[in-house]
């Protein structure tokens, strides 16, 4: 399969990218790792006049903690996030999601920014960013906009990024002590997109009750979303099997899956409940590592 014709630009710095995007807003596509965009180009589902390759742009590949946030450059690959020891120790939901994306070649080249900007309704990162209440920084010649993950993923393959903007950074709040998280994904075959993906993050207050809960779901609606009903059930409760069962059912109710080759609607709803329950149980076990 051969993409339609396009012009190709390989800018060296973010300023040059932003200038190109402001001049070509609407008919340019940004190329990061390529594992989302190239298939679209080959299927001719996308046929931009200009492809802007940011593979050699400096300053978009950092991983650093700053001002109470983990700041991840948009060009950081899934493989780097999966292999990062600090992330494995302190941002387990990020570590678990990164290592399960696609296959090794996809993780070697695919980037967190590319995946978020592509916004496949079954992709893993959005669920994680929603559960952790992360934000995404979009930059244009006019300046920066910081957008909450919960407002960023608008619809299937649609985000809040404006045509003249570049997604430059993902910011995940550093979890307070007493926080635990998990990512659970049901996939039919190795390397498949999720049938259901669930990211959860829980924080336990001094009284032993959950005082913060984040639950992000992917692949079971037109876009990944926050299971807000499950979250409000969890807050104020002592962690345990009964409240987790109720929250899992609330998440299933709030999901809007569609029937496809992965299965019918009823099956997917049941799997939302099952995988949400597993993710909550896994996170809770990490809240009490010695119990």
């Amino acid at each position: 399969m051969i993409p339609a014709e396009f012009e190709y630009a390989r800018p060296r710095d973010v300023g040059e990218v932003l200038r190109i995007l402001s001049e070509h807003a609407g008919d340019a596509k940004v190329l990061s790792g390529g594992y989302s965009l190239l298939p679209l180009l080959k299927l001719r589902l996308a046929s931009p006049a200009l492809v802007v390759d940011i593979g050699h742009v400096a300053g978009l590949d950092g991983i650093a903690e700053q001002d109470g946030e983990l700041r991840i450059g948009a060009r950081v690959t899934h493989a780097r996030l999966a292999a990062d020891a600090d992330i494995a120790a302190r941002y387990l939901v990020v570590h678990e999601a990164a290592g399960g994306i696609g296959d090794p070649q996809v993780r070697n080249w695919g980037t967190i920014g590319g995946s978020c900007a592509h916004a496949d309704p079954s992709s893993d990162w959005p669920a994680v960013l929603i559960a952790t209440r992360a934000s995404l920084v979009c930059r244009s010649v006019k300046g920066d906009r910081t957008i909450a993950a919960r407002d960023f993923f608008v619809d299937s393959f649609q985000t809040a990024i404006e045509p003249d903007e570049l997604l430059v950074e993902i910011r995940i709040p550093t979890p307070a002590a007493g926080t635990a998280s998990a990512y659970k994904k049901l996939e039919r075959r190795a390397g498949d997109f999720a049938t259901v993906g669930v990211a959860v993050q829980l924080h336990l207050g001094a009284d032993g009750r959950i005082d913060h809960a984040g639950v992000g779901l992917t692949a079971v609606a037109e876009t990944p979303f926050a299971a807000t009903k499950a979250e409000s059930q969890l807050v104020g409760a002592h962690p345990g099997p009964e409240i987790f069962r109720q929250a899992a059912e609330a998440a299933a109710e709030q999901s809007r899956p569609s029937e496809d080759r992965h299965g019918p609607v009823d099956y997917k709803r049941a799997m939302v409940a099952e995988m949400t329950g597993r993710a909550l149980t896994a996170a809770a076990a990490r809240l009490h590592p010695t119990a």
């Binding site: 399969m1 396009f6 190329l31 298939p39 593979g55 296959d103 070649q105 390397g191």
Partner: protein, 169 residues
Amino acid sequence: MSTRHVTVTVNGETREADVEPRLLLVHLLRDMFMLTGTHVGCDTSNCGACTVIVDGRSAKSCTMLAAQADGATITTIEGMAAGAALHPLQQAFWDQHGLQCGFCTPGMIMEASWLLGQNPDPTDQEVREGIAGNLCRCTGYVNIVKAVQAAAGEMRAKQDAAAEPAAAR
């Protein structure tokens, strides 16, 4: 339509071409450089038959533009053997019957070479996860895993032998 001049180092040799921006790396390798050992299988980023090493990372060359690879160092299956001496992975795939039709083999060997670079002594499960992006429709993978393990052992033994004289001094 503009073309772009691309310079890459393939298997140690500098190669150049003028390409359309939409040309895929696999077609640069196969159709312009005549390195047809890299196969096009599914052409949809799934099967891994087109796997090559680009700047030290395994890549599906059907999912990369030739223009993206400009300036890169690339290794293909043709770069694995040293003259008539097969690479340990090639020898092990032969010895352990790690192939039947052979279509997936170049991609399997390239992915396995990347895997063993990351992890010289993998478990069987780690080998299976390492080749999760490469599909084989003949073998059921059992002999492929055996071949990768045999090659890993051979490569570790060679490494130890090479390190010994220095240690003895």
